[in-house]
Amino acid sequence: MATDHFHFPETKKAPSRFRNALGKYRITITRACTNCGLCLDLCPYGVYQAGSKRPKASCDHLCIGPSCSKNEFYCVNRCPEKAIHIRSNPSFEVLGDRRWPAELLAGTWHMAETGTTPHQDLNYKTGNSGGGFDKIRFIFPGKNGNGKPGTGEDISTAIELNRSGDSRPRVTIPLPLYLGGMSFGSVSIVTMLSRVRAAVALGTFCCTGEGGYPEELMPYDDHIITQVATGLFGVREETIKRVRIVEFKYAQGAKPGLGGHLLGDKVTPRVAQMREAVPGSALFSPFPFHSVYSVEDHKKHVDWIKETNQKALVSVKVSTPTDVDMVAVGSYYAGAHIVQLDGSYGGTGAAPDIAKKNIAMPIEYALPKVHKFLLAEGIRDKITIIASGGIRSAYDMAKIIAMGADGVCLGTADLVALECIRCHHCESGRGCARGIATTDEELTNLMELEWGTQRIINMYTAWRTQLVGILKRLGMKSVAELVGRFDVIAHMDYMKKEEIEGELD
């Protein structure tokens, strides 16, 4: 695909599928209202809709709050009857967690709804974890800096996935991202298809995860990465031959050493059929590949996939142990095109907390280690490094690229785009109250395919805008230039703001 001419999909408004979207502010209109309609005319954000007795603030999540008071259109001040009150939404205070605070969730929802960055005062760039990405900032050249901003139009965000120089096809994706594996069984078919269709529209890929290859995916074969994981569920020669990229999942950063575990309640007849297992019985993926206990076994494994599909690229997904650099080198010598490093922040609620927070290395530690090691080994430009495990925003993506990744792989962000509220009950009972991570038919029907697809397209379109903005401010022509540029980022715990020349963001 010639990405130079790639036409990014259009964004379309895809509002919340629930009656009241969650926003930072709540607006109440008292009985004093005379339904004069002034607020409807005033608000440029579309918060209000006409009502029979008085207007409805049905889109109060679009409201920018008290900071609006400086505007001449501030409804609270202008209301002739003083009937409008704006206050903080109490739900907002209990929403989210430190990695995904309420503002980041709401900011992401906004992007998914509109395809643009939020106009509200929401921090959509970082979370509140107190470390990692949340402490890292870009150093943009100041007003007097020597950066030469490009126009934005001619900035390339494309990356090449096959850099090995072998005889297999080159595969370029127009954005430095693809969508990571979430199996049928862990998420609903609508969720799965929404992600796949968004990947198609964005010219990138979406991974099946380890739960088979539902036939609904077949029209999108060219944009699917089929996953070969330790349980080998639903992996057949036919599914390997179908696709352009095959991914070996050795481990997940969220739960290295554990393997997948789908509890019995989610193993519905359809899921069981897809995995050719017994309905109602929990399904384990063993932690290792039983056929791979060493690097030469791994090579044999890669050779097998290459034999079965003579055209496909091979991606190896590993978690981040302390010797992750050795794992990456080993994967390269075994013939992998892509190595995906999955750090410890990722994973849905189904990954046990004890594993999620304690085993693997955070991705922002692992990535520089691997990048530098491969540089020293002289093979960095022969392999594509994809980072995953806790990439939440366009800023996270750009930061990890500056730390040595070529691109990123996303999972949770997609679910947030579909209005996941991070309640962490993905594994239990019938699954997700929002109909995302479920296989229950009734819950699955909570979401429509077109809507889901558009939400994800919208979010990544907003990400692209931000990435282009970052590159532009750094005076770069392409995302490839950003790879391994440790000089354009700063960690706030180790660098003093006042010692840095340029603007931090």
């Binding site: 031959k241 995995r275 050779d303 290459k306």
Partner: protein, 896 residues
């Protein structure tokens, strides 16, 4: 008690090494990772180093050319310029000089002051290392010394190190050990340039290693004419660092032993701590080095017999422990308690070659970890010459034998016996030892025993054929050929097979060869060729009495005949080839769609690479794409992935595979049929979906991992972890047994309703080709663990399977429904292998039994960990009502 004092005094004598090690910032505990291919053989006659090439070349895909090495034990004095006495008694010190200018300093510090040097020389090499294709880095110059410690140096050492109570020879050994340690520390592992290190210092043994492939060691150091009784070699697949040093390559040394290793430890840190507590410090930072350090510690310092050393390395666990005699349990419990922290955990397989100085013998030892996570195959062949082999892959064993047979036809190309070790087991202890003993001048002999000293031998009353002798042709009855032709024309080959195999025990080798020659003659007729091939193949597939002849010689002769029939098939070209067309590596460009009348593609796997763009599997799938449906594939030397890549719905395709097929055969097949005429390797039938796989022999590790279906028939045994995570509807018969972990996490639905199952018959064959039961149908401690679906049917008339072997399974009565379910498969099994339901399977102690008395069913139990919510509330949270119910279910202990 005395031994313990010896041990403590040796350990104490190394105390001073601690300071130096730590002053140098050692040991650093970051183990290098790396997989490998390992191989070794022991022979009662000395053989050339050239023969270690063949398996090494075959296993390039187990290394990356960044580290290779080999060791030779049991050397020939004349090749070294010394006499037998010197070879027996002196320490053979080989020092690698990475920087040749270090020689004077090295000798001045570590050789001249301490040693009486009886002989010294640089090892001969080729003139220019670049003459060896693919060798990128100049291997080190190696200087060899035959030394004894000078009496005054020894006396000084004894005094200084407080080794008064040790006998003279022990002190000298320790001197050698510590001197090497000091040399390596000073000239190799200290900060700064790596200048020299000791390759080996044991008696009657030597090691060479380079940055490159193992066979390049033999080429560079001109080992073509260098003989030894035992050779071991190693291909390393290291992943660390750009600067490579031969010091990091295997083998590593203890004192009189060399060790190569495949795998890596999970507990490297803990093992180094264990060693540190005994004043042992690794210098080369690989887990292989610490492996041999443990071996040396247990052997030379603690003075353990080999059996206890093996127990300390690979402890006997679970049900296997319970099966040990009480006396052994008592000792093993002590060993485990004392040494568990020095026991390597994780996947590992060791091959050790050593000189057993005390008993004046040489040994080749293979030890597998308790869970058998690395591939390992043992083999033995005895006749005029005797050889024992240990390799990562069976095909490497065959390659070694082929190489040896080419030079000396007293070696056969097929071993008498191939087998796997069962790690940490009561049956064989996970280890086998080949011992070469006998006086220096007289004929040496080779024996093989397991950890417990039980001998593995070949049928003594059957003589192998000596292929050095030319066989005179025997005059057969005049009607023989025409009768045979008539019988073959009926198309039923069971008839001629039956009559020929009846005659076979009485024939001598000449007679047999003449019959084979006649068959070959008949195969010239295209109309009979297929039947002759099928008839000959039955002689590979079946077990039958061979009289005074050795089975392996018959197999070798039949294989030779078949191969010459295959090679006589017209090569595929523009013209129609007939019913059969041949393709080989040289003519692979001629591959084209079959012309009318061409039915079977005969493909010689020989020259093809085991994987990659030039792989044999690729040619087969390409040929299928061109329209070929019938394949005879022969000449395999470990070519992998046969049958992979043909895609879905391949029913109607049949592949017959001969010789040493490779890993991953039949993985992912969807409809086609593969028949393997002989033993198969590892990872067969991974994700196999549909179709048929028949193996007329054993299968290796992780057979049918994640399989979804298929009909599979195995004549022999499966190694570790067969059918793990299999789902869907696989239907499998294993006529032998499996090492362990059969059908773990089996999820194959309801067997009575389209799901899958495994039938285990637990049988084997004796030397006369008769079917006999194995000692137990399933020896492992883990059967059907965590399984949620499917079933296992075991032929277990003596009820040897016990619930303790099951974790997630239960033994159920075997009823009529079960019998009706498995009967069709047993019938096909009978047709394929000649294992009769009525004459063999249902006969116990000479009496016919009912199926329910012979077979047992193992079904899945719904375990709480497999059910919906795996968590139950803690007891104190349970409400009174619940508690009451729980209490009521408790057994009443008052009632007895």
């Amino acid at each position: 008690m005395k031994n313990r004092t010896y041990a403590q005094s040796i350990i104490d004598s190394r105390y001073h090494l601690r300071d130096k090690a730590e002053a140098n910032g050692r040991p650093r505990v970051d183990a290098e990772e790396g997989g490998c291919g390992v191989t070794g053989f022991a022979c009662n006659i000395p053989v050339s180093g050239r023969h270690i090439f063949e398996p090494s070349v075959q296993m390039h895909n187990r290394g990356n050319g960044k580290g290779g090495g080999l060791a030779a034990v049991g050397l020939t004095p004349s090749r070294l310029g010394v006499d037998q006495k010197t070879l027996d008694e002196d320490f053979l010190l080989q020092v690698a000089l990475l920087d040749e200018t270090v020689l004077p300093e090295m000798e001045e510090r570590f050789i001249r002051p301490h040693f009486k040097v009886d002989h010294e020389a640089f090892i001969d090499t080729v003139d220019d290392y670049r003459d060896i294709p693919g060798l990128e880095m100049k291997p080190p110059a190696v200087k060899r010394y035959f030394v004894r410690v000078k009496p005054d140096a020894l006396a000084g050492f004894r005094k200084e190190r407080n080794l008064g109570i040790l006998p003279e020879d022990k002190v000298e050994e320790e001197f050698i050990y510590q001197n090497t340690y000091q040399l390596n520390l000073a000239l190799y592992s200290s900060l700064g340039e790596k200048r020299a290190f000791v390759l080996s210092h044991g008696r009657d043994m030597m090691i060479l290693k380079i940055v490159g492939y193992a066979e390049q060691v033999a080429q560079y150091y001109r080992l073509d004419n260098f003989d030894a009784h035992i050779w071991i070699a190693h291909q390393r697949y290291p992943t660390k660092g750009r600067v490579w040093h031969p010091g990091g390559a295997h083998p590593f040394i203890g004192l009189d032993e060399a060790l190569v290793h495949n795998g890596d430890f999970a507990n490297y840190y803990s093992v180094t701590e264990y060693l540190k507590q005994r004043n042992i410090y690794p210098l080369f930072l690989t887990d292989t080095e610490v492996s041999v350090q443990i071996f040396d510690l247990l052997n030379r310092v603690y003075g353990y017999p080999l059996e206890y050393i093996i127990e300390a390395l690979a402890p006997t666990a679970e049900m296997d422990f319970d099966h040990l005699p009480e006396e052994k349990q008592r000792i093993y419990r002590q060993i485990q308690a004392a040494h568990i922290h020095g026991s390597p955990d994780g996947p590992w397989f060791f091959i050790i070659a050593r000189t057993d100085v005390k008993n004046r013998q040489h040994q080749l030892i293979g030890i597998t970890d308790t869970a058998m996570l690395r591939p390992q195959v043992f083999a033995i062949q005895k006749g005029d010459v005797e050889i024992g082999l240990i390799c990562s892959e069976k095909q490497a064993i065959d390659a070694t034998l082929e190489s040896l047979a080419k030079e000396d036809p007293r070696f056969g190309t097929i071993a008498d016996h191939y087998w796997n070790a069962r790690g940490g087991s009561y049956t064989d202890g996970g280890s086998f030892i080949f011992t070469v003993s006998g006086s220096g001048n007289g004929r040496k002999s080779l024996t093989c025993s397991d950890k417990f000293g039980r001998q593995i031998d070949v049928p003594r009353n059957q003589r192998p054929y000596d292929f050095t002798k030319k066989l005179p042709s025997v005059k057969l009855e005049s009607t023989f050929q025409s009768e045979l032709r008539k019988e073959l024309k009926t198309g039923d080959i069971e008839g001629p097979f039956s009559s020929l195999s009846k005659g076979l025990p009485k024939w001598n080798y000449s007679h047999t060869a003449t019959v084979l020659a006649k068959l070959k003659g008949l195969a010239k007729d295209d109309a009979l060729k297929g039947d002759v091939i099928r008839l000959l193949t039955l002689f590979l597939d079946r077990h039958y009495p061979t009289g005074k002849k050795r089975r392996r010689s018959i197999l070798q002769m039949v294989t030779g005949t078949l191969n010459s029939i295959f090679n006589d098939v017209p090569v595929l070209n523009g013209k129609p080839a007939g019913y059969y067309g041949l393709i080989n590596f040289k003519t692979r460009q001629n591959l084209r769609p079959p012309l009318p009348g061409e039915e079977t593609l005969v493909a010689d796997a020989g020259g093809f690479s085991p994987e990659g763009d030039d792989s044999f599997a690729h040619i087969v799938s390409e040929a299928y794409g061109l329209g070929w449906k019938r394949f005879i594939c022969f000449g395999h030397r470990g070519q992998r992935f046969l049958g992979c890549g043909l895609g879905p719905d391949t029913q109607g395709v049949r592949i017959d595979a001969y010789d040493s097929t490779g890993d991953y055969l039949a993985s992912g097949i969807d409809g086609l049929e593969i028949y393997v005429h002989g033993n198969a390797q590892d990872q067969l039938g991974q994700i196999l979906k549909r179709g048929k796989l028949v193996v007329y022999g054993d299968v290796g590790q992780t057979f049918m991992y994640g399989a979804k279906g298929g009909e599979v028939y195995i004549l022999g045994n499966a190694a570790g972890r067969p059918l793990i995570n299999a789902a869907g509807r696989p239907r499998v018969i294993i006529n032998g047994t499996a090492l362990d972990f059969l059908a773990e996490s089996f999820m194959a639905g309801d067997p009575y309703n389209g799901g899958g199952f495994v039938i285990v018959n637990g049988l084997t064959f004796d030397n006369r080709g008769r079917i006999i039961p194995q000692e137990t149908p399933y020896p492992g401690s883990n059967l059907f663990s965590l399984a949620s679906g499917g079933a296992i049917f075991v032929r277990d008339p003596y009820k040897k399977i016990v619930p303790e072997q099951l974790n997630g399974g239960q033994i159920l009565p075997f009823d009529e429904r079960d019998w009706q379910l498995i009967l069709p498969y047993l019938k096909e099994n009978e047709r394929l292998f000649g294992i009769s339901i009525n004459k063999h399977l249902l006969i116990v102690d000479g009496k016919r039994r009912k199926p329910g008395e012979v077979y047992r069913t193992i079904g899945a139990v719904k375990l709480s960990v497999l059910a919906g919510s795996s968590l139950t509330m803690n007891e104190e949270w349970v409400t009174d009502k619940d508690a009451g119910e729980t209490l009521n279910q408790k057994p009443n202990h008052n009632k007895i």
